[in-house]
């Protein structure tokens, strides 16, 4: 049941009505309904994996309490590592086992040793990377005494399995979401309206921008051998907007629908393509994951407090792990590694926190410089996206090599029966709308909201791609 499906368009209003009119007596009834809805939502993907979600929830709930109650340090450590081990064990088994087994076999083959690895015939449970990280952050925070363990199982279950964020985030923190869950929500008209606007904007990003860009990006990436330089460059740009529209669109819909239930989720995207350097990009792209790795990996490793080599090591570790989090493929690791390389000069020059504020343009040299930096950062991120999108690292290298060696910058007719340049107007229009609204979460609210709403709805209806249906990319992670 995708957010952009007809089934979800029925499901959401039913849950909304039940939530505010039938189960609105207290926070327990509200939470109970949301858990039932969330488990139903999850079982629509594959009911067999529901046990995994329930088990993971119960494990972290129980170990959290045991960590808090343990008198001795050894006991705390036991329960802590049990939770970490089991959580990462499940993630490793479902997501990474086959990758490691076949990579090991390939390595052995390189040494002349033939081996036929035992591979698991399992599908990746949807959302496992996300709810595992929810649970991990909770247990780690209890272990380091940042939060108290949650004794109410209903409240804790909702924190882990709340349907708007269950399958593709944002990756929530117990410190942020649990306090919201623990009080009865009262209906807030303005928040609900904002939620609707954000959902509509998210849907527009998905069906108009991402899915349309996907048809072009796929046609170019799948046939890159026969593409000229211009098509290859445009392919990377289209993919950049595809993945942005897809994932930030999903996040907007998740945040928006959550507002309908009176719950605020963590913001996941903040106009990343308007970043002036790669450090700023990572503060604006998939914020909940970046901050997760910062708080639970980078800082525990010493962060930027150690010597130069420690900083460099830590930077590479978090980018490589972040890449690997996305999927069991060397292309994701390479993508992470490239971003680490981009980050390195900023780290060495201690300029990685130079661009914190929102870009403000004026008629001066600084503004020209800012635009130049934005374009450069976007170009660098597009280059890295080629590795993210390509099937293998060799394909990505070959793709980039062909941009340089082909040298033809002419229009080209693609496999999707369209010209390579055709989508540029729509992409540019989208950029202009986002630029003019970069201080807000979505562009619909504010002045003339009814007119803007009508334009967005018309765009969704008329310009959306529906027949060439695309799933959300991040569901596979």
């Amino acid at each position: 049941m995708f957010f952009n499906s007809f089934a979800f368009a029925i499901f959401l209003p039913i849950v909304f009505v039940l939530y505010w009119f039938v189960f609105n007596k207290n926070k327990t009834t509200q939470n109970t309904l949301l858990i039932i809805a969330s488990y139903y939502f999850y079982s629509c993907w594959d009911w067999r994996f529901l046990f995994l979600l329930v088990f993971s929830t119960f494990l972290d709930y129980y170990t959290g309490i045991r960590i808090e109650k343990s008198q001795k340090e050894s006991g705390r450590k036991f329960w802590f590592w049990l939770s970490i081990g089991v959580n990462l064990g499940f993630l490793g088994m479902f997501k990474y086992y086959n990758f490691f087994a076949s990579s090991f076999a390939e390595l052995m083959q390189g040494f002349g040793l033939k081996s036929s690895p035992f591979l698991l015939d399992v599908v990746l449970p949807v959302g496992i990377s996300f709810y595992t990280f929810h649970g991990l952050s909770y247990v780690i925070d209890i272990y380091y005494k940042r939060i108290k363990a949650e004794y109410n199982f209903v409240d804790y279950s909702l924190f882990v399995s709340y349907f708007p964020l269950l399958v593709a985030g944002p990756i929530e923190r117990a410190t942020h979401l649990l306090p919201e869950i623990k009080v009865k929500r009262e209906f807030d008209l303005e928040k609900a309206k904002e939620g609707i606007y954000q959902m509509i904007w998210g849907l527009l990003k998905k069906v108009v921008i991402a899915d349309t860009c996907a048809t072009y990006a796929n046609a170019i990436f799948d046939n890159y051998h026969s593409m000229n330089s211009l098509s290859l460059i445009l392919g990377a740009v289209y993919f950049a907007f595809q993945i942005y529209g897809d994932f930030s669109g999903y996040s907007d819909m998740a945040l928006g629908m959550s507002k309908l239930f009176g719950l605020d989720l963590l913001r996941n995207f903040n106009y990343p393509y308007f970043s002036r350097d790669i450090a700023e990009f990572w503060r604006r792209w998939h914020i909940s994951l970046s901050s997760w790795f910062r708080d639970y990996l980078y800082i525990p490793l010493g962060g930027s407090k150690g010597g130069l080599w420690v900083k460099i090591r830590n930077t590479f570790i978090i980018f490589l792990v972040s890449g690997f989090w996305h999927g069991a493929n060397w292309t994701y690791v390479a993508w992470g590694g490239i971003n680490a390389l981009y980050f390195l000069p900023l780290l060495l020059r201690k300029s990685n926190r130079n661009n914190i504020d929102i870009v403000v343009l004026d008629r001066n040299w600084e503004s020209v410089k800012a635009i130049g930096n934005i374009l450069l950062t976007f170009a660098l991120s597009c280059l890295a996206w080629v590795f993210f999108r390509a099937k293998t690292i060799a394909d990505a290298v070959s793709y980039l090599k062909q941009i340089v060696t082909n040298g033809h910058f002419t229009s080209q007719y693609l496999a999707n029966e369209r010209y390579n340049y055709e989508l540029l107007i729509m992409v540019l229009l989208f950029v202009v709308v986002e630029w003019n609204n970069r201080t807000k979460e979505e562009p619909i609210s504010g002045k003339y909201q009814s007119i803007k709403l009508a334009f967005c709805l018309a765009a969704i209806m008329a310009l959306g791609t529906y027949s060439d249906y695309k799933e959300f990319i991040y569901f596979q992670f």
Partner: protein
């Protein structure tokens, strides 16, 4: 909550009004066009006279060389449509007759398409802009599972088939960008392809196809000479006995499957190239139109 209910109703009203406006705009544009595909070429036309009308799928579209019929003095148009099934061929014939076309002979390519009496998703959608304007099209779609959505939900058909009749096609129609579909009397010549030809049609079974039967009876009722033919497949086709099964089920269908066999005359296993199509067409003309 009352205010939110009002807001929700307002949003729904905006959606409905937009859907009606967009539906009206798209439909109006498609009703003006007659040069982008064979369906609108028929739909937005008045009476035409033909000696020969060719109907069927791509195996009609790519196999019957209109020019060769014309050279024989036969006014001909190839209305075969790539990806089309007999559902669409039947509807095309009904629309032609509604527009008072005078047709002497219908040649129907009836072979692989007999195994399917469902609509073609890629071709049938092109009739949908006219579903409110034409009683014939409405009736033809009446038994389709999604008829109520297609007919009663404004703009649904343009959203559901956006790749075929959505914004892109609307824009091209509005800006009167022509296609080459109507060139060469509707015949589309294929070039040569490299590599070995092969196909497997073992899974296909000829049905008692209701649209085939309907085409046949329409021709009888309108005194149109009806010729149904099977057209060639490449040599390396597994399950080629399918054509014998068709002959058994429908003895009146002429089996021309093995008129052209060599790979050099094929573009793909199920589609002859221009050279193959010319050999095949010459044989058809010789057998049916030479006194």
């Amino acid at each position: 909550m009352k205010q939110f209910l009002g807001f929700t109703i307002k949003t729904i009203i905006i959606i409905v009004v937009l859907a009606i406006i967009l539906d009206y705009c798209y439909t109006s544009v498609y009703l003006q066009s007659n040069n982008r595909n064979k369906i609108e070429y028929v739909y937005n036309s008045k009476s035409r006279n033909y000696d020969v009308v060719i109907l069927g799928s791509s195996r009609a579209n790519n196999h019957f060389v209109t020019e060769m019929f014309e050279q024989k003095g036969l006014k001909t148009f190839n209305y075969g449509m790539s990806g089309g099934h007999l559902f669409e061929a039947d509807l095309m014939l009904k629309l032609m007759l509604e527009r008072n076309y005078k047709i002497k002979t219908v040649i129907l390519e009836a072979d692989l398409n007999l195994s399917n009496d469902k609509r073609s998703e890629t071709v049938a959608a092109k009739f949908l802009p006219y579903i409110h304007d034409s009683e014939i099209i409405k009736k033809h779609f009446l038994n389709e599972a999604d008829f109520n959505y297609l007919y009663y939900l404004p703009f649904y058909r343009y959203v559901n088939f956006d790749g075929l009749i959505g914004f892109r096609e609307f824009y091209k129609t509005l800006s009167r960008q022509p296609t080459n579909v109507l060139d060469k009397g509707g015949y589309h010549a294929l070039g040569n392809k490299k590599g070995n030809m092969k196909n497997n049609i073992r899974a296909l079974k000829p049905l008692k196809n209701k649209y085939y039967e309907e085409i046949k009876s329409i021709c009888v009722a309108n005194k149109i000479n009806f010729i149904a033919v099977m057209t060639p497949m490449c040599e390396n086709t597994k399950g080629i006995d399918y054509f014998d099964k068709v002959k058994k089920a429908y003895p009146e269908i002429h089996n021309y499957e093995n008129v052209v066999v060599e790979d050099k005359f094929f573009s793909s296993c199920g589609h002859m190239n221009n050279a193959g199509a010319r050999i095949f067409t010459a044989r058809i003309i010789n057998d049916f139109f030479t006194e």
